[in-house]
Amino acid sequence: MSSVATPAGGRQFLALGIETSCDDTAASVVDAMFEGGVLKSARALSSEVWSQYDRHAEFGGVVPEIAARSHVERVDAVMSRAIAAAGVTVAEIDLVAATAGPGLVGGVMVGLSAAKGFALANGVPLVPVNHLEGHALSARLTEDAAFPYLLLLVSGGHTQLIEVSGLGAYRRIGTTIDDAAGEAFDKTAKLLSLGQPGGPRIESAAVAGRADRFHMPRPLLNRQDCDFSFSGLKTAVRVIVEQEFAGGRLDGQAIADIAGGFQTAVAEHLAARTARAIANAAFENRLLVVAGGVAANCEIKGALARVAGEAGWRLAFPPPKYCTDNGAMIALAGAERFAAGLAPPMAEALAFAPKARWPLAPPIVGAEHGGGKKGPKA
């Protein structure tokens, strides 16, 4: 352990973060400074991402076994590159953090096992990190995002509104009752034969489209909670695609118009539910933080900026490279947990079991939703 004591009595850590929960093998070195266990500043010195898109493309979705095989092939190379690109050496790393769930457990196991080996060999602490906590804290890498804040987490696997009152203090106030927003983008892109990843493909197709040509539903308008739903939208897209195809009208323009209509409907739905959460927010700190890969979509960003602005709230979102899966957010979450004394002791960390399901915050009492045999993923 070679963390540096700063003149002000704080501590400075170089944290190595490893992320392998889906189809990106990622690692990063983050330089984080703390005073009294509280984050003062953080900077990603490197962020390496090895994308496996090409390996899954021909299967029309992420194949868990292919993802796991790909992660083990490259995890150490990506870690080494992150350390080299940061301009530091293995010996200078003060702690290692790895995603320990939720996600595809075969991949999580690879990154977590590599982190365990690294921690043991180098005598540094290991912090198993909840991937969702990484997203929840990711804005703190680049933005002024002091606690507390309202978090909208929108990714391929998750769509949640969470009150973040401090490190490890999360209260879920809304979640999807069916698909995640990113999942809806991927499925819609598939219906429109736009290829994957769905988010960027739909966003580019929508540029040439008219969002008002086809009617798309606005989900859950009559519900007073802050939950989300995307499966009705997906069905609407399928019905329109089938009708246009049967009528011989499914040309490039129609696809662009459907993509545009879908994207606008998603943006408005996310904005409407977030506006409701803002209206009900119980804290004075008027800050909305948006994280997750879907936050990279410009129309969604615009819609959220509008509702935040109308309520007099500040909006913060990390740059796209820290919205999608990355190692820097895992390194930061690990460093924050360690500095706050919330990391498990070494023996416990080395024996930590990877988790396919690991909710960041418990479900709202009385409003638990389904989502598969074992309950919702998160």
Binding site: A44, L45, S46, S47, E48, V49, W50, S51, Q52, Y53, D54, R55, A57, E58, F59, G60, G61, V63, E65, I66, A68, R69, H71, V72, E73, V75, D76, V78, M79, S80, R81, A82, I83, A84, A85, A86, G106, M109, V110, G111, S113, A114, K116, G117, F118, L120, A121, N122, G123, K190, S193, G195, Q196, P197, K321, A347, L350, A351, F352, A353
Partner: protein
């Protein structure tokens, strides 16, 4: 030479450390699951009980399969993280060779591991320990034929491992007393690694089976639209992946 051996490929988890002919640490559990939780504490115990540090370890021998895919990856990923920055310190050991060397049996040996789904992973070693059949996956009948054929005029072939009972009888086959063999012995793994030539890079896993995945019709049509992969670097270094 000090060698650390790690095995999580089959239904056991084990760690050993040897220094030359001397065994400094040797631990073993039976378990079909949970290798990711058991191996790292066991390796930590190996270091603390021997008073060694990672830099004292000259080589890491890790069993890379064939075996359970998840277990194979746990061992390999742990070894790669442990040896980060010195990938040439890792030696991959095949599980069938390790099984053969774990048994105190002379003569021809065919290690056979139950690969499930109606298949076995098998290999063949002659009386001198030379590999006569590289690890392969096959249905038990086909595996028996390949072994019998490759054994030429050998008088007897000892079948060893969890899949030994799955092969049909053959006049020359006999089965080892399984009570005397608990599985892969990590000390045998360490010795194989110690005797191996210096590796040129980190070993890869031996799966012998393609991943379960069906190509989607849409994807077959859209094959040309695949986005090429590559390490996306936000920190100034790039390569084509």
């Amino acid at each position: 030479m000090i060698v650390l051996a790690l095995d999580t490929a089959l239904s056991t988890c084990s760690v050993a450390i040897i220094r030359g002919p001397e065994t400094l640490f040797d631990r073993f559990t039976f378990q079909a699951k949970g290798h990711a939780e058991t191996l790292p504490p066991m390796a930590a115990a190996a270091l603390s009980e021997t008073g060694l540090i990672a830099a004292d370890i000259d080589r890491i021998g890790v069993v890379v399969g064939p075996g359970q895919f998840t277990g194979v990856r746990v061992g390999l990923a742990f070894a790669r993280g442990f040896a980060l920055g010195r990938p040439n310190a890792i030696v991959g050991v095949n599980s069938l060779r390790a099984l053969r060397d774990s048994a105190a049996i002379k003569g021809w040996i065919a290690p056979v591991v139950d690969a499930r789904r109606g298949e076995v992973f098998a290999g063949l070693y002659d009386a001198d320990g030379d590999e006569r059949l590289q690890p392969f996956a096959a249905a038990p009948d086909a595996a028996a034929m390949r072994i019998a054929e490759a054994a030429g005029d050998a008088d007897a072939i000892c079948l060893l491992g969890s899949g030994a009972g799955l092969l049909p009888s053959d006049a020359r086959f006999y089965r080892a007393d399984t009570k005397s063999l608990r599985g892969i012995d990590p000390v045998a793994v360490a010795r194989i690694a110690a005797e191996a030539p210096p590796p040129a890079g980190p070993p890869g896993p031996i799966y012998l089976r393609a991943p379960d995945a069906k190509k989607s019709a849409a994807a077959l049509l859209a094959g040309a639209m695949a986005i090429p992969g590559g390490i996306r670097s936000e920190s100034g270094t790039t390569d084509g992946g």
